[in-house]
Amino acid sequence: MSRLVRIGDILLVLLAILACWQLVYLAAGDVAMAAPAPTLAYAFELLASPRFWPHIGETMQAFALALVFSVLLGLGFGLWMGSHRLSSEVGEPILVALYSLPKITLYPVILMIFGLGMSAKVAFGAIHGFIPIAIFAMNALLNIRPVLLKAGKTMNLSPQQIVTTIMLPATLPEITSGIRIGFSLTLLGVVIGEMFASKRGLGYVIVHAIEFADTQTMLAVTVILFTFAALSNALLLRLDNTLHRRP
């Protein structure tokens, strides 16, 4: 099946989504919705206007910081737990339970510990993102095929060499998958955090727009976030697939 047809099909689905959007707008009117075309145009306008850039900057800054913490905490916990069977058995159900917990219920606690502002946003993003990274890192270590380690021993590798030349590349694909998921969840955490605890940033802009019934801004910013999340995920997915040697 040719690539062109595939891309064509994907564009068709995209068009279908936009058509549904237009239909919803026709049904709901200007009070509740905005039409796709003007919204997209406004989105470009926003991206070009210097007034908007501080908000993007704020969100990106919080996101970058939160991501660093997510990765460090996630890898730290995950690799530590994964190095022994017992610790992984003890820890995995706890991590899975934390994953299913609506972390927004912990939000008030975070706000009380960190106060309003950047650190609360970063903390909220980090608690969302580190869990899948930890789970995937842990499983990556547990699932190394023993025969690969045996092969390393038969080639007289030192323990450090076994870690760097066999364990590291063997766990990399799985860890990357975890980081990809953690990436998206960290963004989610940061944006939600901004909706409550901030006077700047994209989350704040959305909430502000809701309060002033500015559906166009609300939808435009939503589209911008959506596109950023989708594009970065697609890039990470490509990296993921390459590492897993999937076509």
């Binding site: 095929r145 025969v147 690969l148 045996k150 092969a151 021993k153 038969t154 080639m155 007289n156 590798l157 060499q161 030349t165 066999i166 590349p169 063997a170 990399l172 590492l243 040697r245």
Partner: protein, 275 residues
Amino acid sequence: MTVSAAAPEPHVCLSGIRQVYPATQGRAPLHALGPINLDLRQGEFFSVVGPSGCGKSTLLEIVAGLQPPTEGTATFEGRPVVGSVPEGIGVVFQEDASFPWLTVWDNAAFGVRRAGLAEAEVKRRVGHALSFMGLNDFTSAYPSQLSGGMRQRVCIARTLVMQPRLILLDEPFGALDAQTRLIMGDELLRIWRETGATVLLITHALDEAIMLSDRVGAMSFRPGRFLEVLETGWDRDRDSKIVSDPSFGAMTGRLWSHLRSESIDAINTLGQKAS
């Protein structure tokens, strides 16, 4: 003055080897292997045949130094094998041990690169091994793009590049179909002749063992012991066509007479899976 021709030192010496797994909850101590007493001659091809679960793989790992025996000693070139894998031993495992993140070339070069060999020498050895194993067209492919048989060849090439003096193979062709196995057997003989290494092959296939080896050891079910060690008497210059030799059938019959009841024991004991 008499000059007595000293008998050559055995390449590998196994004496009093036993492997006993200690008792766990709900299970008595498991006497898996032994006692095993065996000397491997320099440059010989020795196969171990036996039913599943008789301890053949354990024996191989003990010789390689991957597992310590509960009792007894194993020596390689006069020195005891203890704790780590001695230099000069190469192992080909039953499962695919190729590194999925490296190309065929890098896989083969892995061992010698880590040992610090000069790159020119690495190139020479790897090129020779890959060409010997018929992998010249696949040097930049990844294992995931290759069939099971090809991946096993990559693992064998990786072992050859290290220029081992003792090659241990644990059912290397288990995952392959019977005809491919016969062809791989021919290749193994080629490798054996070219390298002059001593080869210890573990297999459950009687025909493979008899066809390839100078000597075949028939191993009993637990605890694994040698019921008989057969001398095949083949020429060094043999290949798979030897299956048509008249003595082939007689030897197969001889081995089977030992192994048939052992195999039945194995099926009955191992048929019950752990809950």
